[in-house]
């Protein structure tokens, strides 16, 4: 493909980077990224991926925009209240950058549909708000060997990690099974300062761009933890677990499973 003059202007700050250039920008334009959730993490992550010119962005979400989302879910607006989040985000991202094709998948991932949904994409971004989805996405990415950039937030702390199946750790190497629903904060307890998902979602977008460009070191075998109140980033090593139930040589989990609901929706 050849750039149009508009594209040369739009992506000029990318093109002049040695690590990107016109070639890197073309990689971004032909990349296909699937985002799980258009909530607190998916909004900023998708926003930056769209701005960067990631050519195809799929968004899986079955929720509708509510007023209580708007304190942090910046792809939605007062004007899109009541709209499906996947449609609302599609509208926002495509008006930011018409080069981007946003595929709105208005549904919920489960063990029967996830493999078919993520199969066509290069990278998966998990911005889901619950443990059942988080583990389902991890296992599906391990099975299909899809790079996964996972983010999580609670109150003033956030985490990011990048799973490169076959090459590094997976989410289950870190936390083997989901915590029991009782240990997860109840909805009243689970507040979040609105900027926090902006920080974490942006870090996820950065990981995605690095993977597409093949530059830098991804958060492989490591977990980046951000403590907003202390203004502190900490990177901890996460070795691949040789006994991991899903990504080890002899996995005990060989097919996808749906966990019970009963978790709070953040």
């Amino acid at each position: 493909m050849e750039f149009t003059e508009d594209q040369i202007q739009r992506y000029s700050r990318h093109i002049i980077l040695a690590e990107v250039g016109g070639k890197g920008q073309k990689k971004l334009l032909s990349a296909k990224v699937l985002m799980v959730g258009a909530g607190g993490l998916g909004c900023p992550a998708g926003f930056y991926l769209a701005a960067a010119g990631v050519g195809t962005i799929a968004i899986v979400d079955d929720d509708r925009v509510e007023l209580s989302n708007l304190q942090r879910q910046i792809a939605h607006s007062t004007k899109t209240l009541g709209m499906l989040k996947a449609d609302s985000a599609k509208q926002t991202f495509e008006s930011l950058n018409p080069d981007v094709n946003v595929v709105a998948i208005k549904g919920r991932l489960n063990k029967d549909n996830i493999l078919d949904i993520i199969r066509d994409y290069d990278i998966v971004v998990d911005g889901s708000d619950n443990f059942p989805t988080r583990y389902l996405v991890n296992d599906a990415c391990v099975f299909l060997k899809k790079p996964l950039v996972s983010g999580a937030i609670l109150r003033f702390e956030g985490q990011v990690t990048t799973v490169l199946p076959g090459d590094g750790h997976c989410y289950r190497c870190l936390f083997e099974v989901p915590p029991p629903p009782g240990l997860v904060p109840s909805c009243q307890e689970a507040g979040v300062l609105g900027v926090l998902p902006g920080v974490i979602g942006s870090l996820q977008a950065m990981e995605v761009l690095k993977l597409i460009l093949g530059k830098g070191q991804p958060l492989k075998n490591s977990l980046l933890i951000y403590d907003a109140l202390r203004a502190n980033f900490r990177k901890v090593k996460v070795p691949k677990n040789p006994e991991c139930p899903v990504c080890s040589e002899h996995p005990s989990i060989t097919e996808l499973q749906d966990y019970d609901a009963g978790y709070c929706q953040l």
Partner: protein, 103 residues
């Protein structure tokens, strides 16, 4: 006296390395980016050089004075060799000649 001659010799040798006579440099590609300002000047140079092979030479014609300073600097930073930077007297135009060393 001897000292003065020696200094002059060094200076002209240095000049030779940076500013080679035009006739000695054969360019593989020429681009005209007159009318463009930064950063589009370097954007166009970079896109043009991505299409070239290492070892090939590009000749850039421009009229934005800032870019006559910035383009050579950026090219050097990104590992390319700047062979010549010259103002074309009385035209307000500049020529930069550079060799691609790396992708």
């Amino acid at each position: 006296m001897t000292g003065a001659v020696s200094t002059q010799g060094t200076a002209s040798l240095k000049k030779c390395e940076v500013f080679m006579p035009e006739s000695e440099i054969k360019s593989d590609k020429k681009i005209d980016i007159k009318g463009l300002v930064c950063p589009y000047t370097f954007v166009k140079v970079k896109l043009a050089m991505e299409e070239m092979e290492p070892g090939q030479v590009i000749e850039i014609l421009l009229d934005y004075p800032e870019a006559a300073k910035n383009i050579p600097k950026s090219l050097s930073e990104q590992g390319q060799t700047v062979m010549k930077v010259q103002e074309l007297e009385g035209t307000g135009n500049w020529i930069i000649i550079a060799r691609k060393e790396t992708d």
